[in-house]
């Protein structure tokens, strides 16, 4: 960032819940279905239809709120947000206004080892809209379209909106937040949170101000961000753009801007000169919801271990910070790690193999860790073989590769690949005697106190044993025998 300015960023995230049915009717939540096949009088907004709230969705939002350390509000209401748009069947959206389900939470985000606490303003429940498809000249926009088609399958899908305080100061923090939030909702099992498919969507409110100034600058809202990478890029671009505007003597206009992934730029959509009046009022078709202390307690007790807690636990087991992060990020890796540790494996060793060889293998092949032949028991067995001196550290990696390729368990692979280390003293003894016999000069030098030839002699023995002798044993024997031959 150009020095002298500070970015102030807040993020609104929409998460589509994967409930059995939609928010206010019995239709299935099914994104793959042919257009307009999962809808009914309620989600189509037909005359006379009425909404009935989905208990499972409310349970899910409470879990999200609890995971974000929010206060769960004991009395909440649904409101109507009024605006006309063809893919909004009732021309109002059922959402929440001044009494959302969850308020005042926090989440910690890590960027390069630095932790920042981000405030969560609110987490509220609403219904999704249908999807418009504009056909014609307008490049997919409603203006200039010859005609428009609407798919109402998505209309009424439960949508959770998570609003942060303007606590981010960098695009990196925003990205880290997005990633952490994605992990949390996935860990809660309430959404698949796929950015590319739109089941998780970010809007970023961005402004800049001279360092040291208290007041916020004018903000723009950036939409159409559909990956964590583009969230970071879009914010970084927008921050630089606004600084450029200010540096050039201009003023930032409050507006909604559209992120263009291809050009890596944002462009103004429509100016918010007049702020829209949504005429919110409590939806008289729905009754206030009371979430009593007992329900709140049940929700909090039902939470799984969350990413931040899990990372802290892994660090406590001696795993380094980067590996801990990787293990928490990747559910399958994490599961293997947990099982290996539970079976008595060393956490650090298991973590190193998983984030090293296993990740390298899965990246190379594109196979998900869960789909390889690797099992937690294999890691434990491998570790035992190394500890027992049966495998060198290098050979262990080869064995792991064989296990991943599906060649069998570590013992089978090590035998098949002929990687078992020779630790039989008599075998090594004979080889060492032979080498010493052939290299009298070197023995002399060692005896005279010159340690340099030891490495050479070890190399000779290793060559003679096809690399399978335990190098430590060989080295010790050479030293011992050279001294003894006086």
């Amino acid at each position: 960032m150009t020095s002298g300015y500070e970015a102030v960023i807040g993020i609104e995230t929409h998460v589509e819940l994967q409930t059995n049915s939609k928010m206010f009717c019995g239709c299935a939540v099914d994104f793959g279905a042919p257009p307009n096949t999962v809808c009914c009088p309620v989600c189509l907004g037909l005359p006379g239809s009425l909404p009935v709230p989905n208990q499972e969705a409310i349970e899910s939002i409470l879990r999200i709120g609890a995971a974000l350390q929010c206060r769960l509000v004991d009395y909440s209401e649904f409101h109507r947000k009024n605006y006309f748009y063809p893919d909004l069947p009732k021309n109002y959206q059922i959402t929440q206004f001044d009494l959302p389900f969850c308020v005042d939470g926090t989440i910690e985000v890590d960027v390069a080892g630095e932790t920042t606490s981000i405030g969560i303003t609110r987490v509220h429940m609403e219904e999704d809209t249908g999807k418009s498809l504009h056909i014609g000249e307008g490049g997919g926009r409603i203006h200039d379209a010859k005609h428009s088609l609407i798919d109402f399958n998505r209309a009424g899908v439960p949508l959770v909106e998570i609003v942060t305080e303007p606590d981010f100061r960098s695009a990196e923090q925003a990205r880290a937040y997005g990633a952490e939030l994605q992990r949390i909702v996935r860990m809660l099992g309430v959404s698949d949170a796929r950015l590319e498919e739109g089941s998780m969507r970010f809007d970023a409110n961005i402004s800049v101000r001279p360092v040291g100034r208290e007041a916020f600058g004018t903000r723009s809202e950036v939409k159409n961000v559909n990956s964590l990478r583009s969230l970071q890029r879009a914010i970084a671009f927008e921050v630089e753009r606004q600084i450029g505007v200010l540096e050039g003597g201009g003023t930032v206009v409050q507006e909604t801007r559209h992120w263009n992934e291809a050009t890596g730029t944002t462009a103004g959509m429509r100016s918010k000169e007049e702020s829209e009046d949504y005429r919110y009022f409590q939806d008289p078709d729905l009754v206030p919801l009371v979430v009593d202390a007992e329900w709140q307690g049940r929700v909090r007790a039902s939470l799984p271990e969350l990413p931040a807690a899990r990372r802290r636990r892994y660090l406590g087991l001696g795993v380094d910070a980067i590996s801990a992060g990787q293990l928490v990020d990747d559910e399958a890796l994490g599961a293997i790690f947990e099982d290996a540790v539970a079976a008595g494996g060393d956490a650090r060793t298991a973590a190193n193999w998983l984030t090293g060889e296993v990740v390298a293998y899965t990246r190379r092949t594109g196979i998900d860790p869960a789909d390889t032949s690797l099992e937690a028991d294999h890691l434990v067995a491998l570790e035992e073989m190394v500890d027992a001196g049966k495998l060198s550290a290098t050979a262990a990696k080869d064995v792991l590769a064989g296990v991943l390729e599906g060649e069998g368990d570590p013992a089978t692979v090590a035998a098949a690949r002929d990687l078992i280390q020779i630790s039989d003293t008599r075998v090594i003894d004979a080889e060492v005697e032979a080498v010493l016999g052939e290299n009298a000069d070197a023995v002399e030098k060692i005896r005279a106190g010159d340690g340099k030839p030891i490495g050479f002699l070890v190399g000779q023995v290793m060559r003679a044993t096809g690399g399978k002798a335990d190098p430590r044993m060989v080295s010790d024997l050479i030293r011992e025998k050279a001294q003894a031959e006086s």
Binding site: P47, L50, P51, P53, F84, N91, D285
Partner: protein
């Protein structure tokens, strides 16, 4: 034998089971009646002759098999045209829904069908139930059967007129500010608004969701109670539906009023009530006192603000409820250069002036900067009214008032002055704001031969008490008159 169209639901049920006539013959009688009266009244927007005949035949077949579904089996009923009927046009009296056929039955309609009732057709109404005279129907007004130069009241004027003349033995209406009770009063029949939440609103095209309630029309208190019993009950499709134990009204007729405390609402008997209406009301109070009730004067101080609060809350809710009629998915579409223009054109062409007026009022009342002064203030008045009612019901068992300030007024008399029209609901809207039940029944005719309605109100879920008192009022009034249109000489011409 008397014309079957003049039977009560109760008498028809007896006759059907005694084999005196069939459900098909009963249907033919009301159809014949309608074929004569409709030319004068225009109570119906749609007559479903094929569907009704099929239902009547099914009822006869079931009864022949000994399958008794209860008191509504084989009974010809009418349904206000703002309740969805699967495959049968449901217009809400609006051009914007002309030709619209819903894919489902409203819960109340479904319950009637399940009880074996025969639904003869859909009745006329003020567009989207907004009005007090049925003159706001896009398809022409309904006329009062007692004097066809007068209005039948509204918005459920079609249902009230149809029941008054025997084109149906009972009917469903909806009551948002008096839309069942006021036309019942003006047409000389019984009409009831149940406690909010007692009858599912699912499938009732919403006007003002927090005030709307479906209710029955009948020619007697007993018939009205039977119809109520047929449509009430918890509905999982309506989040505002009442989940608790339902009131039972069967045993409350004929119990009398001895020892009951009956409150007279001072605010609803002084100002603006026609002298003949006030006198008839007082006369009935004397009779009730003579029958053993204790008459108590009660004040509802917030009542004076009721009409104002109502005309902010109802339009505010309707401005959102009617937003869905945009030409995109169903109903009238008038093309435009852009989607927004198409929506605006469709709405401008599809909605009549009263609906447009209320949408604008409501949009304004909810606007930023005005929201609290209008909508917020109205909600606070509503709370005060509820509190007033609560306090009143600590002293009395029921409250009474005239149903309407005047008897039926002339067609066109109030159409140019919406505020005067709104005043005709002054006695009935309070029950909608409080959510409590109310019933109107005829207690006599004024000097011009028009029926006078008498309103009984009870606390929420107090239907049993409401029916008990109304049945005694009915007995004391001994009202037997029928409109000229229903008498056999006219009906057979």
């Amino acid at each position: 034998m008397a014309d079957l169209a003049d039977l009560t639901i109760a008498a028809a049920g007896v006759g059907l089971r005694a084999g005196e006539f069939t459900a098909v013959e009963l249907l033919e009688a009301v159809t014949r009646r309608a074929s004569v009266t409709e030319a004068h009244l225009h109570a119906f927007l749609t007559l479903d002759q094929d569907g009704a005949l099929a239902s009547a035949e099914a009822a006869d077949a079931a009864l022949a098999r000994g399958e008794d579904l209860g008191p509504l089996q084989g009974i010809p009923l009418a349904v206000k045209d703002n309740m969805c009927t699967q495959g049968i046009e449901t217009t809400c009296g609006s051009q914007i829904l002309a030709g619209y056929r819903p894919p489902y039955d409203a819960t109340a309609v479904r319950r009637l069908r399940e009880a074996g009732a025969v639904i003869v057709g859909k009745t006329n109404l003020d567009e989207y139930a907004m009005g007090s005279s049925t003159e706001n129907s896009a398809f022409g007004p309904t006329r009062n059967p007692w004097d066809t130069d007068r209005v039948p009241g509204g918005s459920s004027g079609g249902s009230a007129a149809a029941v008054a003349v025997g084109s149906a033995l009972g009917a469903l209406g909806s009551d948002t500010g008096g839309s069942i009770r006021q036309p019942a009063a003006l047409c000389g029949i019984v009409g009831m608004k149940p406690t909010y939440g007692l009858v599912s609103r699912y499938g009732l095209v919403a006007f003002a969701s927090s005030l709307d309630q479906i209710g029955p029309f009948g020619r007697t208190v007993g018939d009205t109670a039977v119809l109520l019993d047929g449509i009430l009950g918890f509905d999982p499709h309506d989040a505002t539906s009442y989940r608790g134990e339902m009131p039972t009204v069967a045993g409350s007729i004929g119990v009398g009023v001895a020892g009951l405390r009956i409150g007279v609402v001072a605010e609803l008997l002084d100002k603006g009530i026609a002298p003949e209406v006030a006198a008839a009301t007082r006369g009935m109070l004397d009779q009730l006192a003579a029958a053993g009730a204790k008459i108590v004067d009660v004040s509802l101080p917030a009542a004076d603000y009721g009409l104002s609060a109502y005309y902010l809350i109802a339009p505010a809710e309707c401005s959102a409820n009617l937003a869905r009629f945009d030409g995109v998915r169903y109903g009238l579409r008038v093309d435009g250069g852009t989607t927004e223009e198409m929506m605006a054109n469709s709405r401008a062409a599809g909605f009549g002036p009263e609906v447009t007026r209320r949408i604008l009022l409501g949009t304004y009342a909810l606007s930023a900067g005005y929201h609290d002064a209008f909508y917020g203030q109205a909600q606070r008045v509503r709370t005060l009214i509820r509190r007033d009612f609560g306090a009143a019901y600590e002293q009395v068992d029921v409250l009474i008032s005239p149903t309407t300030p005047t008897t039926a007024f002339g067609l066109g008399e109030k159409t140019d002055d919406p505020l005067t029209m709104y005043l005709s609901d002054v006695c009935t809207i309070l029950s909608n704001l409080s959510g409590d039940p109310g019933i109107s029944l005829p207690i006599g005719l004024d000097s011009t031969g028009l029926p006078i309605g008498f309103q009984v109100m009870a606390p929420a879920l107090g239907e049993e008490m409401l029916i008990r008192v109304a049945a005694e009022v009915e007995r004391l009034a001994g009202f037997r008159e029928r409109p000229a249109l229903a008498t056999s000489e006219v009906a057979s011409t």
